[in-house]
Symmetry: C2
Amino acid sequence: MLIGIKYVYLRQIIDNKKLLIIMQDFIYYAPTEVVFGKKSESKVAELVTKYGGHKVLVHYGGKSAKASGLLDAICENLKQGGVDYVELGGVVPNPRLGLVKEGIKMVREQKIEFILAIGGGSVIDSSKAIAIGANYDGDVWDFFEGVAEPKCCLPVASVLTIPAAGSEMSDAMVITKEEGEIKRGYSNPLTRPKFAIMNPERTFTLPAYQTAAGVTDMMMHTMERFFSHDNDMVLTDNIAISLLRTMKECVHDVLKNPNDYENRAQIMWGGSLAHNGLTGCGLLGDWATHQIEHELSALFDVAHGAGLAAVWPSWARYVMKENIQRFVQFAVEVWDVPENSDDPEGTALRGIEEIEKFYHSIGMPTSIHELVGRQVTEDEIKEMARKCTRNNTITHGHFKVLKAEDIEQIYRMAQ
Amino acid sequence: MLIGIKYVYLRQIIDNKKLLIIMQDFIYYAPTEVVFGKKSESKVAELVTKYGGHKVLVHYGGKSAKASGLLDAICENLKQGGVDYVELGGVVPNPRLGLVKEGIKMVREQKIEFILAIGGGSVIDSSKAIAIGANYDGDVWDFFEGVAEPKCCLPVASVLTIPAAGSEMSDAMVITKEEGEIKRGYSNPLTRPKFAIMNPERTFTLPAYQTAAGVTDMMMHTMERFFSHDNDMVLTDNIAISLLRTMKECVHDVLKNPNDYENRAQIMWGGSLAHNGLTGCGLLGDWATHQIEHELSALFDVAHGAGLAAVWPSWARYVMKENIQRFVQFAVEVWDVPENSDDPEGTALRGIEEIEKFYHSIGMPTSIHELVGRQVTEDEIKEMARKCTRNNTITHGHFKVLKAEDIEQIYRMAQ
């Protein structure tokens, strides 16, 4: 019964915890219609019309959407389907507030009623920000600063080309304000996209680094939820572990053979499931690593997934004693570390070492100097920690509440 | 690396199959807002209002909704929230067309615009049928006969009390026409419920038999999708296996201690995930066992889950050679049968024996005579097979297409 160990093990943890922790109530709401498969983009006009779009902002990034022919194909399909549209390109990784404001202006002037993102998380996030800003009289940044809440949101949808951020089904977005290099996330169920078109073939041309950073990001979306003290939702845990194991195996196949449809498909669908809420049902989640990374990518403009890989092991070593059993479970269930009940700390540490080996095997960094090519200075560390914590304690960080000095220490460990 | 066997094994199957089978495209659309946890029913008026309901049909079964005080609590909450409502009780297991028609009449006469189901799958299915029939001039049974398609559907939502059918998030319903004892399923994305309120405490009073039949039904919803030839969506497989393993373990705990909140919660959420489409992404699925069982419960009015347990092992033995590897995977991954590559058939058979042991351990039958207390006659077998196949071949049955004589044989094996 060797294979059963995994599940028996999970149950024991529950039995020990049952009297200590009360299960979290939760809301699961993931209304996005996912149209997945070859040629799925041919349904774009039909879907836009179904969800009430007549005049559409086609929002995209740069060269690749044009070079691949996807943008033209989408526009042609919209034309054929009688859907009016205007284009707005130029979204960059870590999407900027300036372009969001430009989009809001276009939407108002041209009476646009639907935002269609062609791209990955950056383009979808930028689209969501335009969609909540369009009917708000104030500055859209108010939402990111937490001083206002949107009352409505234009419908948003996407043709996904980069599996990573999970924005295609999520209620979340991250925008960078150029002035002061401030990167902020914002979540609101109103922003859940209406549909997401996903054709794994469209991801064949993704460079290896971007593929690996994407998988790192989706695995981290699952891990941020997994590292929680309220760990008695076994079904959520088991689904999360399945997702992590599937992703870590598929990524190697895809890096070897970029045109591997089946494995590209696992990754594409995994990215959505990792961030649509499924892997967090019944858990509070943590999200400190995302906050810590946001300051890194705001300052150095690095790929978000790579930034996460660079800081997670240090976060993990810093906080693991808060709930060592959760780290033991992670090591044993996801990374096949043999269980040693006499040495839970050793088991937990071996799990962290395994993920470091994994990151290196897919070309991801596990330290900041690997990420940005140099050590960060003490001044930079202090500045990032200050921005990250804003009001003394980190906004998230349910696993362990972190103050500025904790964050500084994590940056130092990650150097 | 013992624990990793499971996933390595999955990958080998894929590698062998890759050239033979093309992955299925899929649509995943599960827009229901799930509000899960203690006291969640206190949000009912707020949610009905959010989804546009002003005048509501409160649809329910019989004694238990009243005796538990739930019905009164819901009605009081609606009143307090300024939502007008009328009540229609009397839904029975294997819900009847007669009451659906009564509901349609009430909806039309009283200008009702929202159907709120208080109960389990039968009540929700009956609600969905009322919702698609309300604005259709013809006989609502037309949809079940496949001679018409609804153009619209009133909004449906539920306060779930019986985790089993998964109707709270699904697009499907099953209704029994009294005349001729005809039981038919119908699916349409328009019928996906707007919200589902799930409080595991409301399931504490479920009798052991109904709890076990419910878990059997949800496991079967996953198995019907799992037994497919297009088995290269590893992520879906891994999630399905996680779900099956979690359910089979939790049910024993709940049967021992009916007030076990955590395990009731796994089962309640598992029932929804088993049938909201998640476990079928990228797979065609089979559904023959459901069709075969429908005739049994139409004739003998037995619990659907129990009927599924009574016939599945016979279906499995009859069809397993069509894709023995899928049955081997099921035996090894879900039931911990040791793998023996020299004897795939023996491994597959041991998996079927394991599920029979499991069914008996939770009080479910594994044969028709255990289910209905007597052997069925040859005439009954022939009549059920005729009704089940309708036009020579079974409507579903992608794993193996079954004709009337195949179905007869399965009923005989299940005697």
